[in-house]
């Protein structure tokens, strides 16, 4: 009996030693060190923030995204995709932020199934059945950091010439292959809008309602369709420049405010879905 009790206490002791003690964190809880923003490469990053106006935890994510974009001024391009259950309209909140393409992205990448807010950085890490590409807001900064460390193989230049009377803009895209390029690349165009004043649930408020929230970077349309168009049907040698031109007309039934709009051009690999380069320009 005694031997066995000794054995027991030995077992307990070794179990306690084996399972290490916990790490109690003291203030400050958030890293204060300045981030390395001196990255000199020409790579830019698309931060997609999947969101919805009834998602009470989403405004904090919007702000964090804005903070990240500010830190790496001009190198991080934000696109807010309203999709999934939190983007569903109701009689009280009937304004529909959803787009057909946004819903397709959300379904395809499985984001709102996992929950909102969540996002993707350059859609990196996508593989069918896995969820490595879906990033909670706490992981955005780190992924942006590593994506920006890359040296870009493609440079994008983007120009928009807007005609007020026809509500049409001419979009000029130049794709400059700094290194050899493959044929598996598609060009995507996204239209986003800032400062759409409408309702947003915000759990940081009591009651958690903001009737006049400024919705930023909202995906409004995809001029080249959901998955864009193929840039070249053959591999492209280094040094090649391909120029493309498109006209986009704001449909008469849309309430888009041109001065608040941006055009985003992105190039993605059609096999991995990863975005290899992205650029943004004001529509007007």
């Amino acid at each position: 009996m005694k031997n066995r009790l000794f054995l027991l206490f030995g077992a307990i002791l070794s179990a306690i030693i084996l399972s290490s003690c916990g790490d109690v964190i003291e203030e400050p809880y958030v890293y204060q060190k300045p981030l390395d923003t001196t990255k000199t490469t020409n790579q830019k990053v698309l931060l997609e923030d999947y969101t919805g106006f009834t998602c009470g935890n989403c405004p904090a994510a919007h702000e964090l995204a804005a903070e990240i974009a500010k830190t790496y001024s001009g190198k991080v391009i934000i696109m807010a995709v309203h999709a999934g259950g939190y983007a569903k309209t109701s009689p009280a909140h009937s304004y529909d932020f959803k787009t057909a393409s946004g819903t397709i992205y959300d379904d395809f990448f499985g984001i709102s199934k996992v929950g909102n807010p969540n996002g993707m950085i350059n859609r990196k890490g996508y593989a069918e059945g896995a969820k490595n590409h879906i990033l909670p807001k706490t992981k955005w900064q780190k992924q942006v950091d590593s994506a920006l460390a890359k040296v870009a193989k493609i440079e994008l230049t983007l120009k928009s010439t807007y005609n007020e009377s026809t509500k049409t803009t001419k979009i000029d895209v130049t794709i400059n292959y700094l290194g050899a390029g493959t044929k598996d690349l598609n060009l995507d165009l996204y239209l986003t809008e800032d400062s759409i004043i409408n309702y947003q649930t915000d759990y940081r408020l009591t009651p958690p309602d903001n009737p006049a929230y400024a919705h930023m970077h909202v995906l409004r349309d995809t001029p080249l369709g959901t998955w864009g168009e193929l840039i070249s049907s053959t591999d492209v040698p280094a040094g090649t420049k391909i120029s493309k031109s498109y006209n986009y007309t704001i449909a008469s039934d849309k309430d888009f405010v041109p001065k608040n709009m941006h055009i985003i051009a992105a190039i993605h690999n059609i096999k991995t879905y990863e975005i290899v380069q992205v650029e943004e320009v004001s529509l007007k």
Binding site: M1, R4, L5, L7, L8, A11, I12, A15, I16, L18, S19, S20, C21, G22, D23, V24, I25, E27, P28, Y29, V30, Y31, L35, T54, G56, N57, P59, A60, A61, E63, L64, E67, S90, P91, A92, G110, K113, V114, G115, G129, K131, P136, K137, T138, K139, Q141, K142, D145, T201, Y203, R204, P207, P208, D209
Partner: protein, 559 residues
């Protein structure tokens, strides 16, 4: 099976080993069970049922267990082709997610592979499977249990939890000690009284490589508990403490977590009373700090509200708010003495149940200037907060009149904070006030034939500023009939009618037919009908059940 084993033994066993093989064979047992569920989905836009491209979805499970003397082993095969609606789609696929090998004797148990385990009431650790929720957080690793003397047991565990078809990011280590004082010192307490004390310690390790927050890689939780019981009285208490565990469910809050559970029961002849209290503060403990929904949970809080079975009352299930709630429950049962006016000659009893759950009264003390979310808060008091989550008052009277007739009358009053319980706090619906009256009559024609009928009526209002057109609001009535031809057949038909819905096009009937056939240990069930959408909760953990119209087939069997 034994023949098969015999052939194997003969083939591989040499002469001298035959006697041994023979004894192994005699102590070998193979058992298991099988479950198959399939559902077809048709388009039904009135109830918001989606049309499913696959038309039919199914989930299947097969457990096979084998024991030879002191050794046990087993596997579970599962398929989700594709998962039935409401079950997380990340389960899609098939395979063997569960396999284990175990050695067991009086002194020690050793398990390697998968296992389920609970420490105390589950506050700091519970690994379990709840198939209807699509919840399986089985451990994969090793466990030992040591019993050095009568009344003392130590359990040690290490491993990862299952996360769909993979493993969770965190590594779990833990130990639990239970000491039965009354077994260890036999003459200490009066006869029939027992006193048990216990303690658990769990530590979770997860990489803390984050560029924004300083995160704890090792999060530990400790719990102590005691139980004292006599033949008429039982008291259970457990207190748990968890160090800072910023995670996705608490919005990366750095407060430590605490949990306290107290259960009192008193059960003299003809009477039973239970009183429960719990206060849970920041105790959503998971093996992956980024997990949400019901995946990779480590903590479990026993629910403090009654789980109602009557169909209409399942519109208001309660899901435990692990990040902050305080609740109390009382449950009383009184059996009327035989021969008394209400008692009659057969069983007759009344049960009364009351539950109330509130938020905790807290104040934010440190806010992250970037995310605007609280990093720390303080509980203003140990008492109830101002926000009511759930209130349930119900009474049920059951009486058997003679050998043939039994009746049940039940009244249930529920206050349901739909915003908190279904819409994550968004001011969408407001509080739902409901009253439900149920009458049930069971009639036995003969020992083989019987009929059970029910009428349920639900009165409901909600003080919403907004009326979201949904398939739940307003009054409901339900008729139910079940005919049993024992031992094999059960036929059921019921209709739920949402006649009081605020929107005319949503005043719908939900009619269902169901037939079940049982043969020995196998059961086949076929249903057709319209299923209303809502929440399904088991033990305070919930999942969404999407509205659906179609046929469902369920087969279960054990061997």
């Amino acid at each position: 099976m034994k023949k098969f084993l015999l052939i194997i033994t003969i083939l591989f066993g040499l002469g001298s080993a035959n006697a041994f093989s023979q004894s192994v064979l005699e102590s070998t047992r193979v058992s298991g069970n099988f479950q198959f569920d399939a559902q077809s989905y048709g388009k039904d836009s009135l109830i918001g049922a989606q049309e499913i491209k696959q038309k039919v979805l199914s989930n299947g499970f097969l457990n096979v267990l084998m024991s030879v003397g002191k050794f046990n082993g087993g596997i579970r095969y599962e398929h989700y082709l594709d998962p039935i609606l409401g079950i997380d789609t990340r389960y899609a696929g098939s395979g063997i997610p569960y396999r284990f090998f175990e050695f067991k004797d009086e002194f020690i148990d050793v398990t390697v592979g998968n296992f389920y385990q609970q420490f105390g009431s589950g506050l700091v650790f519970r690994s379990y499977e709840e198939r209807v929720l699509g919840l399986d957080n089985a451990m994969d690793g090793a466990r030992f249990k040591i019993r050095p003397s009568k009344g003392v047991e130590f359990i040690g565990i290490i491993g990862n939890q299952r996360e769909f078809w993979g493993k969770s990011a965190g590594l779990i280590r833990g130990g639990d000690l239970t000491v039965s004082i009354s077994d260890l010192f036999e003459n200490l307490l009066p006869k029939g009284n027992s006193l048990n004390v216990g303690g658990s310690y769990v530590s979770k390790y997860q990489d803390n490589n984050d560029s924004y927050y300083l995160l704890p890689a090792n999060v530990t939780a400790t719990a102590v508990r005691a139980n004292y019981s006599t033949s008429e009285f039982n008291i259970d208490a457990e207190y748990a403490y968890k160090i800072n565990d910023p995670n996705a469910t608490n919005n990366y809050n750095y407060n430590p977590g605490t949990g306290f559970i107290l259960n009192l029961s008193y059960f003299p002849e003809g009477f039973g009373a239970n009183l429960n209290f719990h206060r849970i503060d920041n105790f959503d403990f998971r093996s992956d700090r980024e997990a949400i929904g019901s995946s990779v949970m480590m903590s479990f809080v026993p629910p403090i509200t009654k789980q109602h079975d009557y169909r209409l009352t399942t519109l208001f299930p309660y899901s435990t708010k692990l990040n902050g709630e305080i609740g109390v429950q009382g449950d009383f049962t009184y059996s009327f003495p035989k021969g008394s006016w209400l008692g009659g000659n057969y069983e007759s009893y009344v049960t009364f149940n009351f539950a109330r759950v509130h938020n905790l009264d807290t104040v934010r003390t440190l806010i992250d200037t970037t995310t605007k979310l609280p990093l720390r808060y303080e509980a203003n008091s140990l008492g109830f907060g101002k926000n009511l989550f759930f209130n349930d008052l119900n009474i049920e009277f059951t009486k058997k009149w003679d050998r043939k007739i039994k009746t049940v009358v039940s009244f249930i009053n529920i206050e349901y904070n739909k915003d908190v319980l279904e819409a994550e706090g968004a001011a969408k619906y407001g509080m739902v006030h409901s009253n439900t009256l149920v009458g049930e009559l069971e009639y036995k024609f003969t020992s083989k034939h019987s009929l059970r009928t029910q009428v349920q009526h639900l009165w409901q209002t909600q003080d919403s500023t907004v009326h979201v057109p949904d398939n739940q609001n307003g009054n409901w009535i339900m008729f139910f009939a079940e005919y049993s031809y024992s031992p094999s057949w059960i036929f059921t038909v019921y209709d739920e009618y949402n006649y009081g819905n605020h929107f005319d096009e949503k005043k719908l009937h939900y009619l269902n037919f169901n037939v079940a056939y049982t043969h020995e240990s196998s059961k086949i069930m076929l249903s057709y009908g319209r299923q209303r959408g809502g929440l399904l909760c088991v033990g305070g953990v919930c999942r969404v059940v999407p509205a659906a119209t179609g046929i469902s087939l369920s087969i279960t069997s054990s061997f």
